[in-house]
Amino acid sequence: MKTCFEKIWDDHTVLVREDGQTLLYIATHLAHDGSSHAFNFLANKNLPVRRPDLTFATPDHGVSTLSHKLEDIPDLEQRQVVQTLTRNTGKFGITHFGLDDDRQGIAHVVGPEQGITLPGTTLVCGDSHTSTHGALGCIAFGVGASDIYHVLATQTTWQRKPKQMRVTVNGTIGKGVTAKDIILAIIGKVGTNGATGHVIEYAGPAIRALSIEERATVCNMSIEAGARAGMVAPDETTFAYVKGKPFAPTGANWDKAIAYWKTLPSDPGAKFDLEVTLDASELVPMLTWGTSPEDVAPITGRVPDPAKESDPKRRQAIQDQLDYMGLQPGQLLTDVKVDRVFIGSCTNSRIEDLRAAAAIARKGKVKIPSMISPGSTLVKKQAEKEGLDKIFKDAGFEWRESGCSMCVGMNGDLVGPKERCASTSNRNFRGRQGKEARTHLVSPAMAVAAALTGHFADVRDFL
């Protein structure tokens, strides 16, 4: 009896050392503009890329969202690594979706969109949110530069088999509650190190009911619960999503692939080291109030009051966070004024996210600077085909090009000091979106509700 994770892990095990370390084969590697250090390490050792056919590349972290012309990347270092990616992929014969290619975008949006990410595989990328791809039913995790170098040189990585955790979400989510609220609630429940050392399998009827794009949002933030990876076992929703994608199997190979993928779900009675259960019907739209993704609260709630905390250490920690975030104890969250809105990132920038955002955006005009960066150039074009860009622009949103943008701020899209941002991204760390930036994580619909009112608002009041 095996879990979905174990089936895929075993299928990619090259060898296991006596000390338990596994040499794991990597079926797919995604490179981006930040992979330059790893390519440099390879060059320093004068080694070739072992399997250039298994790496796919696109620039995302440092690209300008004002224009996709290389010369419009303002920072010289960022511009250079985008050029270096073009050079390295050309040198080794790696598939590359450059700035002039419609297939360019955030690596974690592009992989599934192109059918590069497939069920039953192992996938790595030099980015912690690689866990996103687990939505397709694969083992996907982020690695550092030395491990990328190792994958480029050997197509493998040394890993210790992680423990396994199952998060079962029962029930049905209510109107205005999204996949983002589910994952924020999970992180709030288990904490930022609640899943450390584990891979999470998300299961249960509320997860099964999600689309692949919604599952991507859930799996994306597994890392914020401390997990190495998150995944959803493949099902008919998965197969329907993958079918016909540019790099997905075709013909007889499609039939063989489907037959195999159907064997992947965890066997009944398979053992998990940790089990967590949530009831989706109890969830309401969520947001974070502090500087760690575990600091979540329902929109109907209040800013926590440190005075009510008995543990002195915890009391001080909350006070520190309120000071940084510029919040008053006990303040109603719907009374908190917002300065800026960002809709984008590998968490929430896919077409379904933009449709959900547009459904609220059509009800008013923005009161604060608000921008949207679609997850890929193809997502942008699809949104424009559906007229979503017009809705956003009419409401006063800035409609930008695709990239990691204000989630990590490496391209110059920054939140100013002490500015409060309602963001659909994944991290509310201190300084993440800019020095002294105050980040609150929300769903796309909640971000639009904040944009239209100038403060946090319950999106259910707009439905």
Partner: protein
Amino acid sequence: MDKFTVFTAVAAPYEKPNVDTDQLLPARFLRRPRSEGYQTFLFRDLRYNDDNSEKPDFVLNQAPYRNAGIMVADRAFGGGSSREQAVWALTDSGIRSVIASSFGDIFYNNAFKNGFLPVRLDQAVVEDLRAQLLKNPGARITIDLEKQTVLAPDGKTHGFDIGGFHKQSMLLGLDEVGVTLLNDPEISTFETAYKSRRPWMSAPPRPERG
């Protein structure tokens, strides 16, 4: 990679939990060349003001801890981004170990590739170590990797767990890619079998093996 055997150094206490990799190394320095070193970026925004002057209250700016080689933190150290640059910023600053009750998984793995030893001890022990360091600023801690022990300032010894693979790599200062290339025949055998059982992974429309 530098070997790690027995290491004795001044230890700096840092009581805040959730020291994420954005705090260790802000994203704006990620593209700096490796060869120029990352020491000036460590804890950049916690350690320095906008005009590059030091913030006197930050632990590594205080006299007893300027040459710290070890940090004793809290829980969830190194969570967040996969940036290995966070480890480089520590090692380039002469810090070769952090003791904490838990670590971010990717940070933990990245550490060993750079001769940096993350030591997991129980939360109560970590808090006790910090209390000792606060009482005796500049006190030293000795970490013996072979014996898997931490020698505290009060003379007590605490054992820690580490995987055999990581321990061996660190003790010998092994280059991991060099080790793996010795397994090249096994990798090739795997690839042949994988191609036959999962043919769609290397057939059009995916790139064929060149």
